[in-house]
């Protein structure tokens, strides 16, 4: 929902707004639209700041699957027989010297064998942990990167880095960047939607809402969290006996007041608030339609392996597809509880079971509907885990690690059935085709049609960009 003709909330935006005389039309068309009288007053959806796109768009939208906690690459996508051979022996100091560790700092570092066998899948006989047979079954669609690295070794900064390109909170999240750049395609849904799921049982570390903040971009670009269980959006339904028309009249009146005040003080956050009221009003109609899965075939539900409304990662994956169909630009799903300092052998298979079928189903479903070609799916944790065991937290697990992690992408103009990059024999550090989070961001922007290094916003005297000061290089080797 665009309220400004210009995308930004600065002096420039204000001047732009005045010169275009906008603001007045904002809500005028709202009620008309909702009563499906449109043509004359209809406004096209918001246009992004990057227009026209410098590069042809390979991906129109992104579905980002965040495995929060940091899945171990040794029990997912990076087979390391040598590590098994050295199980129980000291980790070579030549590798680990100088490395900062989260919870193993100063401890004796001992090799810990991969805990589950790997199996070969797909046309290239790609080795994937046998806990992920469904993902294995779609490996021909996937581009697996075994040489990802990150800077951070603690959860919150690592998420921050993965989401914003900076470990320090306050930068815009990538979903905000993407919507700022491309504009939101959806008129009655937010352009950036977040959903969080947790398996039953443990209570993992929380995911802070600042992970989908819009940072210094206008707050209408921030992620909006939908709940997988119960009301998708809290307090969205009208109280009994309040009709849609009444509610519309209320919103209109409030907006009129807001506009009046805005005309006086010119606070861009008021414009944001107007847009949010408008969006919320639209969502009162669009969200129930979105979450109503009665139209989904039984075989689709079976494909994902979910019960509608169960709040599972699988149900969220299905909703992600539905959001994608409805023009939502950036969809981020978090599945928590991958932080296996302990109970690695006991807990990780449960997480695998919670996501394996759903991830594969999402790819299969997008593909059969002709949407995978232009949807970029990304599966990643916030960091990897150590090849060394951690025993100081009870049963054996692995510590956080930033020198190696595995992740995958699918669709969106990325090569299919590809394995890219490699770690050393013990999986300690990425060795071949080392990728950084900045590179990943750059690649994503590139596939969306944006030049990563030219996509900047002036902030505190710098040309701030998602790919950070260091910049990121598009990972050419994985592009189709």
């Amino acid at each position: 929902m665009n309220v400004f003709p210009t995308p930004f909330q600065t002096r420039r935006a204000f001047l732009g707004r005045v010169s275009h005389g906008v603001g007045a039309v904002a809500l005028a068309s709202l009620l008309e639209k909702s009563s499906s009288l449109h043509a004359a007053s209809a406004r096209p959806a918001a246009r992004g700041v990057v227009y026209p796109l410098p590069l042809p768009q390979k991906a129109k939208r992104v579905i980002w699957l965040t495995m929060a906690g940091g899945p171990s690459q040794f029990e997912t996508f990076d087979p390391k027989p040598k590590l098994a051979e050295l199980h129980g022996e000291a980790m070579p100091e030549s590798l680990t010297r100088g490395q900062q560790l989260a919870q193993l700092q100063g401890q004796r570092l001992v090799c810990h064998a991969p805990q589950f066998p790997f199996a070969k899948f797909g046309k290239n006989q790609t080795e994937i942990c046998s806990l992920f047979p469904h993902i294995g079954s779609v490996v021909n669609e996937i581009c697996l990167i075994r040489s990802m690295t990150t800077d951070a070794i603690n959860h919150d900064p690592a998420h921050m880095f993965m989401n914003t390109g900076s470990q320090i909170a306050g930068r815009p999240s990538m979903g905000a960047w993407v919507n700022y750049g491309l504009g939101s395609e959806a008129e009655n849904l937010p352009g950036f939607v977040v959903m969080v799921s947790t398996g039953p049982g443990r209570s993992p570390q929380p995911i802070a809402t600042r992970q989908w903040s819009s940072g210094f971009l206008p707050s209408r670009f921030q992620g909006v969290q939908l709940n997988g269980r119960g009301d998708a959006v809290h307090y969205l339904t009208n109280p009994g006996r309040v009709s849609r028309a009444q509610q519309g009249a209320d919103v209109q009146a409030i907006t009129a007041l807001n506009r009046q005040h805005d005309a006086f003080v010119h606070d861009p956050e008021i414009a944001t608030r107007i847009a949010q009221y408008e969006m919320a009003f639209q969502m009162q109609a669009s969200v129930p339609e979105l979450t109503d899965l009665r139209g989904e075939a039984a075989r689709t539900l079976a494909l994902y392996g979910c019960t509608p409304g169960d709040g599972s990662f699988a149900a969220n994956c299905l909703l992600a597809r539905r959001l994608a169909e409805r023009g939502v630009r950036f969809i981020q799903l978090y599945h928590r509880d991958w932080d296996h300092h302990s109970l690695l052998k006991e807990e990780l298979p449960l997480r695998a079971k919670e996501v394996d079928q759903a991830c594969a189903a999402l790819i299969t479903d997008l593909k059969q509907r002709g949407m995978l070609d232009d949807t970029l799916v990304v599966w990643t944790g916030e960091f990897g885990r150590t090849p060394m065991s951690q025993g100081n937290k009870g049963t054996v697990g692995r510590d956080h690690h930033n020198k190696s992690m595995s992740m995958w992408l699918a669709g969106g103009g990325v090569q299919r059935g590809r394995v890219y990059g490699a770690t050393d024999e013990l999986g300690y550090a990425a060795m071949e085709n080392i990728c950084t989070v900045h590179d990943l961001h750059a690649t994503m922007l590139h596939q969306l049609g944006i030049r990563p290094d030219a996509f900047t916003v002036k902030f505190q005297g710098l040309d701030a960009k998602l790919t950070g000061v260091e910049g990121g290089g598009v990972i050419q080797g994985i592009l189709a």
Partner: protein, 329 residues
Amino acid sequence: MTSWLNASFSGLSRAAAGRQAVAVIVSVARRHGDRRRPYALFALLAAGALAVSARGEDTFFAQRVAPIFEQKCVACHGEKKQKGKLRLDSFAQLMRGGEGGGVVKAGAPKASELFIRVTMDPEDEDFMPADSKPPLTPDEVKVLELWIAAGASETTSLAAIKGAPALAARKAPVAALAPDWHPRAAQIAQFEKSTGLRLVPRSAVPTDGLVLRTASAPTRCDDAALAQLAPLADLVVEAELARTKITDVGLVSLATFSNLCALDLTRTAVTSGGLGTLVPLQKLESINLTSTEVDDTGVARLKQLPALRKTWVFGTRVSTVAEDPAAAK
């Protein structure tokens, strides 16, 4: 019909690929830093024709080596500029060397200045091509290496040097997908305003065509809106009509979209009968019929579309296509 299984890339993507490659190279080069000494040896600029004197068409030098110089080096080391007093626009010039002497030592790539300069750390100020110009690809480096190792001769035949990387398929000249939309910008704005739909340029290249976007409010797009698009029909290369209200009547309008490459009709009321009207779309490469009432007869009608490569029929009555991805493996 191979349905979604077919992953071959369309002309649309191919045309795009050429430009993309350029974009990418720039970004890579930038990453490698841009402090370079001004007297640089090589430089970029693919343009500019140059006379590489090739005796005999089938020599390795003429076929494989000279084109690399042409593309990556002669803009600075050619007829117009001779940085470092080096010219690479002919075998003789190459062998003459630059101000530092010879640049090729036959049989010894690693001792040849030419080879050293293109393979050193790109951050090094002596690295070539200089000034963040596109570096040689690994394949190109390999070609140089093989050629020097084999004696750096002008006359060695193409077949005599084994193991050279296959030539990348010649990129077809980037063809216009549609007429330049700029002259009709006002009409486009008017259409957007009156219908609430969007006509988005595919890229900054003005002849890349427009994408008709309706996802913001699919219910706004109906047969009448498509009819309004008639004066702009030739600009549209992609029509995203999923979940819109269009019917077979709208397909009649669509049949005049002469440059249409991709059409998404997911969950619309179009029928098999209506699909027959799309036959004039000579450039249509993909059509998405997911969740429509289309059946085998409709898909049969599409067989007349010469460019069609992908058809999605998930959730339709079409029986002839393997829908189950597991079964299709």
